[in-house]
Symmetry: D2
Subunit: 390 residues, 4 copies
């Protein structure tokens, strides 16, 4: 029988992580159907995907709330069905016990280099103790403020030296986590808009180490819709004149993004996509507002003004309402299965074919959702276990 795969979540006690973990445990216990899991579509089935029972979860976080407690809060907020949490309580406790303390510069008593060593060791220990074939590290921790490009980012030796200097902070926590992942010989998925593995020296190291990675910033709401709709205008030769958006969200992510610094990262990854989709810059004011009263819900309103035949005006408005974490969580499971399969098939470097899942796809310039879906299906169709073909 195949060895199990590890899923190592950075930010493992957050909403997205808790929802993904609860969902995995519920799927394993046959309590729910895999609605929202792309890799569960019969059309995309593949033998290299690990089954729900073949995934073991651990992670890092800097918070210490037990997963079961977070799960209960999410049930009260409407994200998780009330009946599920008690049914998987034991499994939740087991996962909670696999979560180690992460790294944050605000509380760091160690240079980043030491944190990387420590965290890589955490992952290695996890892999060893569960006898895992491989571990996939997925970052779902709080969005960070945009981080400046530094010369050290282009050169691994210089980076290593700077990381050893306790007086400097040359990488944000997401990139520290990405480095720890690569150090531990793991594939890495950047689900947030943070820098993560997008440091040239780290990307090169992953590639050299034969490791695949994917990202960045899960595409689950407004941007998902934009990448489904914008091609419609282009294909119909209609000219988008403006595309305004407002996002209202509560939850942990709402609080983080309310901080003007952090939100810039999110807005930037959203903006890049729209211009790429429309082939030109358009007036596109965009807001993310923290509305704690909405709890775990997210509501997005978009207003699109379009020029049609003979200069006539068309207007499209949409409102999208959902539970943010429930949109993201199944993608975490999908990405884990896909990246596991990619590595089994010997893929390395940026997995552009996974752009379907991201606002800011690494290794691809394609933003059109339907094209991404096709690329994903083609890529899955072409996966073969390494050595299996010869």
């Amino acid at each position: 029988m195949a060895k199990a795969t590890g899923l190592w979540l950075v930010g493992a006690r957050g909403s997205v992580a808790t929802t993904a973990i609860t969902g995995l445990l519920a799927l394993r216990a046959n309590l729910v159907e895999p609605v929202g899991c792309v890799t569960a579509r019969p059309e995309l089935a593949h033998e290299l995907f690990p089954g729900w029972t073949e995934l073991v979860v651990g992670g890092h976080d800097i918070a210490h709330q037990p997963l079961a407690k977070r799960a209960e809060q999410l049930a009260d907020a409407g994200v998780l069905p009330h009946r599920i949490v008690p049914a998987i309580a034991d499994d939740l406790r087991a996962v909670s016990a696999e979560i180690r303390h992460g790294y944050h510069p605000a509380e760091a008593h160690e240079p980043a280099a030491a944190a990387i060593d420590r965290m890589a060791a955490d992952i290695a220990r996890f892999q060893h103790s569960h006898d895992l074939e491989q571990v996939v590290v997925v970052n779902v921790s709080s969005t960070e403020a945009p981080f400046p490009e530094l010369p050290e980012h282009d050169d691994l030796a210089a980076l290593d030296a700077a990381l050893r200097d306790p007086a400097r902070t040359v990488l944000p926590p997401s990139s520290v986590a990405a480095y720890a992942a690569v150090r531990a010989g793991c594939a890495y998925v950047e689900f947030t808009p943070s820098l993560g593995i997008r440091v040239p020296a780290l990307r090169a190291l992953a590639e050299r180490s034969g490791l695949p990675y994917a990202g960045a910033d899960g595409k689950t709401g407004e941007t998902l819709l934009r990448t489904a709709l914008a091609p419609m205008f282009t294909e119909r030769a209609l000219r988008v004149r403006s595309w305004a958006g407002t996002n209202l969200l509560g939850g942990g992510d709402g609080a983080t993004l309310a901080d003007a610094e952090q939100v810039r990262g999110k807005l930037a990854s959203k903006g890049r996509g729209l211009a790429a989709l429309l082939g030109e810059e358009v007036t596109a004011p965009l807001h993310i507002d923290n509305v704690p009263e909405l709890g775990e819900q997210k509501t997005a309103w978009d207003h699109v003004s379009v020029e049609g035949f003979l200069g006539t005006q068309l207007t499209l408005q949409f409102t999208w309402n959902g539970y943010d974490s429930a949109l993201a969580a199944p993608l975490i499971l999908d990405l884990t299965r896909l990246v596991t399969a990619a590595r089994r098939a010997g893929e390395r470097g940026a997995l552009g074919a996974l752009g379907f899942f991201f606002k800011d796809p690494l290794g691809s310039t394609e933003h059109r959702l339907a094209e991404q879906a096709r690329e994903l299906a083609d890529w899955i169709g072409g996966l073969h276990a390494e050595g299996a073909q010869g």
Copy 2:
């Protein structure tokens, strides 16, 4: 130099026809850019497409209002820019002079067979007098009530006999027009939800006569959006639970569709697509309301309720507002160019690759907009003038 192509509009004095004609004349006079014309996208350019100056327009209608008058009304209603109508007044008058009286059972003093002969002759005379390479007939007349299937529809001889019987009405006006088109050796485009060429004996005759045809029911509003959005849910393994829609429209089409009989045809072609897109029937109440106060505007509201991960609810609402005829008109020009090219390339029968333009595509079961766009592009890429390759 290439001979010109004829565009023969059934319903030539209606809103869609008048907007298409005005637009063509304005494009020819370089007064506007071809926004909304799919065949004008540089990516899709093809030498077999006739240029704007290579199209000559005529048609049938049972109304007699001069085109210039209708164009002025459309300008007052906001569909056409005020500056354009006077600039092309002479050309409009010339087209208006090419419109012949059509056929309607309510006023028919002739058996349908005679009407078919008369209308085919109108088209032939038009082709001859302008020395046209070919004529494309496009039906943009008022939507008809659903028409029953009759045994005569399957057998041309029986159909011909029945058409000669002045006591019977075995074909609706759209199918009489389609028959006249085929009789005159013309390709036919069904832009409305009416029966038109979808009579088995007529389809077979067109095929035998080496004539291409396309349809049915131009996809310009709510359905356009649905075919862009529904695949997003499927591809993300999300489960659409209900999809409700309300359409408000004024204009001639609003008045026609307010009649409960006629609207059934339109609702049927809309419904078929949704089930095909989602792979199953969902609760999908749909309304078309006549709101004369909206003039030529159409507003559609859709409410989609979706089941996501762990049974959570997602809700999408959209409102689409535009000038109906301005959405349809450029497609009339596109279809004329595409069907002209198809015939030049020797295509015959249903042009499934034009499904991109239709709610109820003939010759195709594909409803996903992005797939249709790709099929269209591939098909255009593969067109070669007949005999050109050998």
Copy 3:
């Protein structure tokens, strides 16, 4: 100490009733705040209102599902907080035991006259056994199809004779219930669009018997908004040209209203109000669609097209989403308190000042919400216990 008041619900096992009962029990147990209860606003406090602990509930229904079971379903559907139902389980069982079998012509083994006697006796027994000062009967049973006006409706003797004829059905169940209420000496509230007490002979009898009554059709959603918004247009001298609406709802009420017959009653009470508000008939297509997938939620979309200065167009769209029963339930408690107070103050006949709560107010032609709020406040301010003043 004051004697308690009885609340007798017709349709006592339905969604609205169960939510009202659960809410009352939760208020009594101090588990929730009286959000949504108009009579709990400090500005409107009045000594003649019975307290939450001074209300005893019973009722009629033709279904037999225990209230606790219905309450659990409503909790799963999101209408009731999960924590409340177990906390009041005993009280719910006690109320459930006070519900008697009602009357429905489809299952009636008795002439309507006998049913009226039986049901009046049920209420009297309830009043006696709990030593209640008075009982208020509130109809929250399923909406009925519009009922024809009959000559017997104008004359009590003729009505009584016809009711004794087992071969005839001269009153719908709601009016049978209203008659039973009046017979038992109770005030009556018509919360549905059904005929209920709106039979001239019954209204006269209530008046003669010194009984107050109120109705009809609780105003909780789209109409509530319309009566808040329409005056804005009038006061600003703006001219509403069209007002279209679509209502999507699941739940028991959705299923009932999907039946074309029943819905006519509801649409009629909605339509009357709009014309009254705007001072003229406008194009106002209106739909109620049953979407079972929405569960207990109701979503309404309204599109209002308005003519402004110099003929410019204004457009207002709104979407209203809520849990239907949670909107209605607090009004049931309010109406019970208000009607109790009215009777204590010696009011009889139609209580026009309660028009604030109804789509189709009895005893008033005022539909503007703000005016109704003011009339309500003035009326409450003027209430004095009968005899108290002299």
Copy 4:
């Protein structure tokens, strides 16, 4: 016969002013009906209101574009009907000739005191040359950035001294205009969120001079709706939890408000009202985005999250779309008529009864639209020509 009244517009060449002037001229010529004019409602008719033919217009602006040119642009943008502008071209030219150069610190070659003298003289000359009974000054110039409170604002002598100092700018242009108005013995209306007459020393001076004034910031869009809707929640004892808003607008006002400084003034006057309406502060993120592509249109989206019975969530969303200046212009005519009548009736100081027209009403704390409508009607009902009663 009654003497005519003067309307002196500050910002007389802007969109609002041009629309108001065009509308007045069209009303005078019987080309349009007074839709949108509150004072034209038969219920509010009053003999002290000047007729359309009894108003003469002049003004200040710092731009010099002829009114006829601006009117044509507004017709192209859909604000004015195309047929009207040519029909009143001569009258427009006449008004345009009555517009004098205003005051702006950026171009001022004079101390503010001199500007006040000059502008007061402009108004006096205008009054004299047209033999006007009185002149009403209405500020519709560009919104200014919030202006700091200064000690000089409380004391007229200190203010006058500071205004004579060419090195200081102690009043923004709107207040310079207000001072000029009072100096010229005119009533003043502040239609913008700028400081205007809201300088304590100026308010006191107006009062002492027996002059009425009104303001501030015309209520024409999102806020109009909020003040119609918020009372609905309060009256129904529902608890608003959040009220988010996004405004998209092009036009001159869009460009001005895009400047972060200016927008603060507007957002402040909007925010004050909401808290007053709901009785408490709620989460209420608010944005104004400049979208030049929308031309003269304004679109507002509001999302209101409300707590109902038993903690259930209600959600209201609305979208409001209109031509901003067409919403404002009739109010300018109304305010001119009302303030004229107020002065004829001997009113002085802040006209709180005109709060109906303003986001930030001077002389009133009432924000509820329906209450304001009632106060306005009562106030009009109580107006009598000064001395007429004695």
